[in-house]
Symmetry: C2
Subunit: 151 residues, 2 copies
Amino acid sequence: MTRWPLPDPMKQALDQARAGADRGEVPIGAVIIRDGAVIAAAHNQPRALHDPTAHAEILAIRAAAAALGQERLEGCELWVTLEPCAMCAGAIAHARIARLYYAAPDPKGGAVDHGARVFEQPQCLHRPDVYSGMGEAESANLLRGFFMAKR
Amino acid sequence: MTRWPLPDPMKQALDQARAGADRGEVPIGAVIIRDGAVIAAAHNQPRALHDPTAHAEILAIRAAAAALGQERLEGCELWVTLEPCAMCAGAIAHARIARLYYAAPDPKGGAVDHGARVFEQPQCLHRPDVYSGMGEAESANLLRGFFMAKR
């Protein structure tokens, strides 16, 4: 069987996730793309930063907005290795991210296609296009390996 | 009629909201209390900081966690002038805030008692005790004045 190669942004998000795991953080990575170029990349680091909001998506969004010197990220894509939680989905809407690509679904904590389904609320002011599944096995393996090693 | 005086933390959150309005930010303020003392206070500032995540609650949570040098804010109270959105409600759950006091409800953007109802999702790992209504008129007046002046 020939496997379809992963798009570069998802490869980079997975690399970020691995870098997080190496530092003892839950392995989740994110990159933000604008006009085909990476403008921000981050991994989870609530522990190192003493910051409960320091999910990969939040750090990447903050870095991208700072780099562009603007509050919103219209036209940008966010690639992340796990389905975003309610906090991150809310931030994605506030940032006006155009397209969201996530690898693995997260039935326990995701809030895009599970739970709070933030983008499906009638109040949601901005809904990105959402694509999922590419890199799912790689992302799930990273998370599984991390949590098994913790036990 | 005698009006019940506002608790000090809500007065301080409203002062923060006013400080935000003076700087052209949507007037929403938040303070975090631990053992009766203010450990963080902030107002909305996505514009000034070029940061779509810079809601009052997120800034206060990040400041409090940094001040304590820890990822979680167990035992802390968050006082905020408006019902938190999905992003902020998610952050409150991640931070393990014990008690949430919000002034005005926000049917258009709130995600505690409206919309995504983040804390009511079966997946939500931590639910603060939630109290609302104190300072509602003051908060609503600040917001109304701000948006009327914008027109």
